[in-house]
Assembly symmetry: C2
Homo-oligomer: 127 residues x 2
DNA sequence: GCATGACTTCGTTGATTGGCGAAGTATCAA
DNA sequence: TTGATACTTCGCCAATCAACGAAGTCATGC
């Protein structure tokens, strides 16, 4: 139990991972959307997601060529559900999180094909 | 708010600091007692305590030559009280924490003078 | 099959962090 | 006042960690 709790607190001790949790509180998202939202390298985001998943704070499912991450719905230890509720109630009115939500809405308007190729092309064009 | 929350999650991302929180859930303690309980150097314990206090997870008061640390009783942000409740309900039945509580009872039977000189002499004799 | 694209894994690097001892501060006792 | 004690601060070291790019895996579409 202490092991599980430490996995949760360590997972939540990084700001980008907390932001991911709040993004997923709004809706399930595929990795390329999260990459766009955080503005980090794909490998970095993937690492963050694996740490959150290890702590059972998020779950994932494969749909075609995309992998969707989402908050666990049930069958998850109480430690985890309480931690998620704590996050949500604590950060609901936070300025940065509200800004993140606005950006999320913009990102969700783009199609996935447009979005995912965008970050690749974007990097190339920027170089 | 995100700042406060990150301070809390970072503070709780270390196992020794979580153990301190659970010790203080039992009773207020002075630093030398916590040093004895964790088996760490005084400077290390002091650092842990300052990190927890920075996050408002604990408070302190001076009594004579000893400084007592304790869980905050009131006037503390909801983020903090919820985090403490989460810790306590999650770890109440944890094996390691239960062992810690047994050790705490032993330590509490010693007088402070005996205890605090003990760790200094202990270190010297061990060398 | 064979690209292409989405994501993960691996290896490296710079920054953060937990640990310690030594030195500093403050309180108590003689 | 002087020494001892409780705790903190400082400086250092080893270990951990976030970030990245490159290479690997896996599914889709031509």
């Amino acid at each position: 139990m202490l092991r599980n709790l430490m996995a949760v607190t360590k997972a939540l001790s990084d700001e980008n991972r907390v932001r991911i949790m709040m993004f997923l509180s709004e809706d399930e998202l595929c990795v390329c959307q999260i990459i766009e939202l955080l503005g980090l390298a794909p490998s970095t985001v993937s690492k963050h997601l694996s740490i959150l998943k290890q702590a059972e704070l998020i779950d994932s499912k494969k749909k075609g060529r995309w992998i969707y991450y989402y908050l666990p719905d049930e069958g998850v230890p109480e430690i985890v559900t309480q931690a998620i509720e704590w996050l949500q109630t604590s950060l609901n009115k936070d300025k940065q999180i509200q800004g993140d939500r606005k950006q999320l809405k913009k990102v969700q308007k783009k199609s996935l094909e447009e979005l995912c190729q965008a970050y690749v092309n974007g990097n190339r064009e920027a170089a």
